[in-house]
């Protein structure tokens, strides 16, 4: 099964993404789901807006898949990121990884989400419960 990358505006079908990486060759399937959380350092979120630079995001996600494959024996990888307006509990990103044995799937999955947050050009904006909004740009403080 080939790897898959998607940036979508609709809800992520994490069950379908997980099913897509499954195989009789794989004893392990790991799914990571990033989910819109209510409380961040004592502040309450009502929604997040995600924006992507799609052409570059697809390219950098493929780069991450290549890097993961260079380090671990994985069978299939599926990455799906949502953009647009997401409310509490909605899924912003899902990463599914399958491998013959569990350690590779866990390690590759951890690597993929950590690196995605470092280099894939996707941004989120907090919509706080007090009505203010704030882009989350690591290293840049709010004005």
């Amino acid at each position: 099964m080939p790897d898959s990358i998607a940036i979508v505006e609709e809800s992520i079908d994490y069950a379908a993404l997980t099913e897509q990486v499954r195989s009789n060759a794989c004893g392990a399937v790991v799914l990571f789901m990033g989910t819109v959380r209510e409380m961040t350092h004592g502040k309450q979120t009502v929604a997040l807006d995600y924006e992507a630079y799609p052409e570059m995001a697809y390219k950098t996600m493929q780069q991450l898949i290549d890097e993961a494959r260079a380090q671990w024996e994985v069978h299939s990888i599926g990455i799906e990121h949502r953009v647009g307006h997401l409310t509490l509990g909605e899924i912003s990103v899902a990463i599914a990884v399958s491998s013959a044995h569990r350690s590779e799937a866990f390690e590759a999955g951890r690597f993929l989400i950590d690196r995605l947050k470092e280099i894939v050009p996707i941004w989120k904006k907090e919509n706080w419960s007090d009505g203010t909004t704030e882009w989350e740009h690591p290293g840049i403080s709010a004005e």
């Binding site: 570059m56 882009w135 740009h137 840049i140």
Partner: protein, 84 residues
């Protein structure tokens, strides 16, 4: 021949501050990423608060400071990423 301006795509807070998803920067003969960073801050003061932190991508790849630029490339500029 050098084009008179280069188009730069903006995202996230840079896009919001500029009020546009693309800005036009006056071109010079020999352009680099470092030059572009300075040119954006001079020509779009509204982005100055971000200028030291802006990342620049050329043809969909992160670019180093000394990388040369030309007007035919796809150039983008944005603050640090925060997806996931």
């Amino acid at each position: 021949m050098t084009a008179s301006s280069i188009q730069v795509r903006l995202f996230a807070r840079a896009r919001e501050l500029a009020g546009s998803d693309t800005i036009s920067v006056h071109a010079v003969d020999e352009m680099t990423v470092a030059w572009l960073r300075t040119a954006i801050a001079e020509q779009y003061p509204v982005l100055k608060s971000l200028s030291g932190q802006l990342l620049i991508a050329v043809d969909n790849a992160y670019a180093g400071e000394e990388q040369p630029l030309n007007a035919e490339q796809e150039i983008a500029c944005f603050p640090p990423v925060s997806g996931g």
